[in-house]
């Protein structure tokens, strides 16, 4: 048995008269419990609230995605009788729907989903801390998120914004009623930005100051490294979003030409400002997913992660390079010189991502893989993320990007990275930590069935979009020339498979909450600290402050805490002559 699990088992007392209860234990009648949750400074409760909020946003954004795909099932055509056929929604409704899909998924789902939900829940547990460094700031960032989400949704549903999630000027500031809503929407993004900054700041300080005794930087789980890199980007990049919104406000209020060509401003400047934030934001979305991947692969393959330091530093490398590649979104808009510089820099970001993939593959060598839902998601990630990665090469190369820019090739690429990368890692992580979060097991067969639908549905929906995109199908089209019909139909059928997969997961989780089997403390045999505490964890996380005596992935030398040695036999120790270090 490991020395970390020297804590007593069960919900017993410390001998100080205080009884340890699960953080989910109701505080009293319903309204008392609700008030307790609403005013909680417990990172676990805040993380769980984020999880429910972002899951709601995911389904909201998903409904609009399904509507977009449904509209594109048939091209709009005029039949021989002169009637318009094949059109479910008028163009202006379609344009609002793809905008809603983009804004909700980017700002309300994927940016907060992993860092704020999983980061909040797991970071202090993995570090062996009682809470994050600033628990009250954490609660504030939750309410700022709610406020920002509320403002954004009022703007989106109230006026109907049809600009796409990029809000390019001058289209977004043309003085019609509809476009005044854009300002409200960008205010929502501004507020959400502060939530992001607060959370990032909190996590950076937590990682620096609250690691358990004995935990050096290289004893931290790789998920923590990834969240740490993400938090640095959040703190440094998000203020630019705020500056952009302020400049928009100044332009509107005082008629100073900044972005509006009618006032002498420059729309290309807006593109630069927008992507100076939004490109690093792409890595806010994917880095935490990579962190989850490292945990899933190591635990479910029961193998020390290959190249720990390479993976840890590649997270920081990605964070650093993410700030200097924004111009690759502007290859059709900026000067040839700027194109050359940004293209060259963009290729550098491919390297740390590739390093991670190679190390994950190498980790599987001589490992022991189980095919449960979290691991299937991790393996699926390797497939989809690699496709997302190599198709990025077409977009970093200037000549080919000029052709592919603003086509479905780009749409397919970023869905392979965002949904096939961050999204799939998120669903894997959700199954992985679900037993710890709620103390209930989910049904494994249903989980696997959900994965199969999601994986096949995802690839059906998006792979075909590479083909139609590079053949010239532009994005954000409410209808299309008839040549592309079959491609769109395959893609739309894929979106229905995705829906089935997500509904299976949703019902599986609901069933688990209602009558799932009680979860053991360490169902997967993990070695990181969150598995040493109760499932669900007690309110202050650990019965005693944990002390670190082994690394997070020392599966070859340590039987995981609360696991039976029969199930986790250790390999024979190396002979002294075999030892290299």
């Amino acid at each position: 048995m490991s020395t970390t699990n020297a804590t007593s088992t069960g919900n017993d007392s410390h001998g100080d008269g205080h009884h340890d209860v699960s953080y989910l234990h109701p505080k009293g009648p319903l309204w008392v419990t609700l008030w307790d949750w609403a005013t909680t400074i417990d990172h676990k409760k805040i993380g769980v609230m984020y999880m429910f909020a972002t899951t709601f946003m995911f389904f909201l954004g998903g409904v609009f995605a399904l509507a977009v795909r449904a509209e594109l099932f048939m091209p709009t055509q005029v039949n021989e009788a002169g009637e318009i056929v094949g059109q479910l929604f008028a163009n202006n409704i379609y344009n609002r729907m793809f905008t809603l899909h983009g804004v909700v998924m980017v700002f309300l789902f994927i940016i907060p989903a992993i860092p704020a939900a999983f980061g909040n829940f797991l970071l202090p547990l993995m570090l062996g801390a009682k809470d994050v460094a600033f628990p009250r700031l954490n609660l504030l960032s939750w309410y700022v998120y709610l406020l920002g989400a509320g403002v954004a949704i009022i703007a989106l549903l109230g006026g109907g914004i049809d600009t796409g999630w990029t809000f390019y000027t001058p289209y977004s500031i043309t003085g019609t009623e509809m476009h005044r809503q854009v300002f409200l929407m960008t205010m929502g993004a501004f507020i959400l930005g502060f939530s992001s900054i607060f959370t990032g700041l909190n996590f950076v300080v937590t990682v620096h100051k609250l690691r358990a005794p004995g935990m050096g930087w290289f004893d931290m789980p790789l998920f923590v490294w990834a969240i740490y890199a993400t938090s640095l980007i959040q703190v440094l990049a998000t203020p630019v979003l705020g500056i952009t919104v302020l400049l928009l406000a100044i332009e509107q209020a005082f008629h100073v030409g900044i972005f509006d060509p009618a006032l002498g401003g420059d729309p290309v400047l807006f593109m630069h400002f927008f992507w100076f934030y939004s490109h690093p934001a792409v890595y806010i979305m994917i880095l935490p997913g990579m962190g989850i991947m490292s945990e899933l692969i190591a635990v479910h393959a029961r193998k020390r992660i290959f190249g720990y330091k390479a993976i840890a530093f590649s997270s920081l490398g990605i964070a650093a390079v993410s700030f200097i590649v924004w111009g690759h979104h502007l290859f059709t808009a900026q000067t040839a010189m700027a194109n050359a510089i940004f293209s060259a820099l963009t290729f550098f970001v491919a390297i740390p991502s590739a390093i991670k993939v190679f190390n994950w593959v190498a980790t599987l060598y001589k490992s022991g893989i189980v095919f449960n839902t979290p691991m299937l998601y991790a393996l699926g990630f390797m497939f989809t993320f690699t496709i997302g990665g190599v198709t990025g090469l077409f977009l970093a190369t200037i000549a080919t990007d000029i052709n592919l820019h603003d086509t479905y090739f780009v749409v397919a690429h970023f869905h392979y990275v965002m949904m096939g990368g961050a999204g799939i890692a998120l669903f894997g992580g959700m199954h992985h930590w679900w037993p710890k979060m709620f103390g209930k097991m989910y049904n494994e067969k249903a989980g696997i069935a959900g994965f199969i639908f999601v994986f096949i549905g995802f690839n059906t929906t998006f792979f075909i979009q590479f083909l139609m995109g590079s053949q010239g199908m532009p994005r954000r089209y409410a209808t299309y020339v008839p040549e592309f019909t079959i491609y769109h139909q395959i893609s739309t059928v894929g979106s229905w498979l995705l829906l089935i997969g997500f509904l299976i997961h949703l019902f599986n989780f609901i069933a688990s909450l209602r009558n799932g089997k009680p979860a053991p403390r360490n169902p997967w045999g993990g070695l990181t600290l969150e598995w040493t505490t109760d499932a669900p964890p007690i309110e202050h996380n650990f019965h005693h402050e944990p002390v670190i005596h082994h690394g997070p992935y020392d599966f070859e030398d340590v039987v995981p805490p609360f696991c039976d040695e029969k199930d986790y036999p250790l390999p024979a120790p190396l002979k002294p002559s075999d030892k290299k270090h």
Binding site: Q77, V78, G82, I84, N91, N95, T163, Y168, P170, Y171, T174, E177, P261, A262, P267, V268, A301, R304, F306, G307, T332, A336, N339, S343, A344, F347, A350, V357, V361, A362, Y365, K366, S367, G368, I369, F371, L393, T397, I398, A399, T400, I402, N403, H405, D406, Q471, G472, P474, R475, R476, T479, V481, P482, E483, E556, K566, P569, L570, P571, A572
Partner: protein, 378 residues
């Protein structure tokens, strides 16, 4: 253009859009017709990246699949020890891809730069983009009069020569647009506050190519299209001569109809009695109609209302059609407005019934006047 379904009907009814049937299987999956020399060099880079991606993908997925199959966990069996770090390996899989990426960068940069500067003998065509219409103005004053019906609008067909470089000098009337010709592999954003240029040289006479707007620009973005019709250089020169239009010499309703299409009114206003376009009020039966206005009140469509709506569209907006129109001040002169009014008057059952007779009368009067003029000259 289509790899899965090559015989599906194409938009251009008079001549089909260029086909990619001469490309190999993998190219046909991913690329449209290759219709310029630049497209050929682009496709070479594209296929280099494609093969590199396939090899890289297999290099990752091969060992991955092997490990996943081979190293399944067996109950009660200890997992073997193995190294968890190997510096030479880490360096190898960092540096080798980096070198390959340097090669990719240079290939992409070289082809991009080769397509930047137009040859000195290139012919310039001025392109005006606006919501939601393309307008090509040729150097001799020619404008197109050919349109293809598409959804609820008409798509202009512009002639370009084969084997001669063409340089487009483009700006936008309103928001950002982007001119994209997939078959030439070229695209550039078009801004309201500067000129963007692009050049290309079409390879094959007799082909037609789609022009798409690739930067989202509002309601009719997906219908903001044009078709390029590649002619032999001789046919192109003749086309330009034939298409020099003098609006003043045309029968006024015909001149109005010409402006209706060339100025892009057709993107939002329908003239078909059966259809009503969603963006602007339909023009069928518009003359003399009483329209309810946004904010109360009503207006009868007469000369002054038409003139006001073209020059200051936001002044009196018809209820149910939120204003999306920009002023045409400086684009359509008063003679043009008169022509459009004359055109509007023909857009009713009665107007259509009288059209032929009135045009014949106008033509007869014009011919008589010309004959008299010639007679006096002699």
């Amino acid at each position: 253009m289509n790899f899965l379904n090559p015989i599906m009907s194409s938009l251009a009814t008079t001549a089909p859009i260029a086909s990619n049937a001469d490309l190999n299987f993998l190219e046909r999956m991913f690329l449209s017709a290759q219709s310029s020399e630049y497209a050929g060099s682009h496709d070479f880079v594209f296929m280099v990246i494609m093969w590199l991606s396939i090899v890289f993908f297999l290099l990752v997925m091969g060992p991955f699949t092997y490990f996943v199959i081979k190293y399944r966990r067996k109950p009660g069996v200890a997992i073997q020890r193995s190294v968890s770090h190997n510096t030479p390996l880490e360096l190898a899989w960092s540096i080798i891809p980096l070198l390959l990426l340097c090669v990719l960068f240079f290939m992409g940069f070289e082809v991009f730069i080769s397509g930047q500067i137009a040859p000195a003998n290139a012919e310039t065509i001025n392109v005006r983009a606006k919501k939601w219409n393309w307008n090509f103005a040729y150097d001799n004053g020619a404008l197109t009069d050919e349109y293809t019906e598409y959804v609820a609008t008409d798509v202009p067909v512009f002639a370009i020569p084969a084997g001669k470089p063409i340089r487009l000098v483009m700006d936008s009337e309103d928001v950002i647009h982007s001119l994209y010709v997939p078959d030439f592999r070229k695209k550039i954003d078009i801004f309201p506050n500067r000129y963007s240029t692009m050049w290309f040289e079409a390879s094959h006479a007799g082909e037609r190519h789609y022009v798409f707007c690739a930067e989202y620009c509002g309601d009719q973005h997906s219908q903001m299209m044009a078709i390029l019709d590649v002619l032999s250089p001789e046919a192109y020169d003749q086309w330009k001569l034939d298409n020099v239009v003098s609006i003043g010499d045309m029968y006024p309703p015909d001149a109005g109809e010409f402006l209706f299409r060339s100025q892009g009114c057709n993107a939002c206003h329908s003239i078909d009695p059966a259809k009503s376009a969603s963006t602007g009020p339909p023009w069928w039966g518009i003359w003399g109609r009483t329209e309810a206005l946004e904010g109360g009140g009503q207006v009868t469509v007469d000369e002054n209302y038409v003139r006001e709506s073209i020059y200051t569209p936001a002044a009196q907006v018809v209820l149910g059609y939120p204003n999306q129109m920009n002023s045409y001040q400086g684009l359509i002169d008063p003679d043009g407005i008169n022509a459009i009014i004359a055109f509007m008057k023909t857009l009713s059952d009665e107007g259509q019934a009288n059209y032929e007779a009135e045009k014949a009368a106008w033509q007869a009067a014009k011919d008589a006047a010309e004959a008299e003029e010639q007679a006096t000259e002699q």
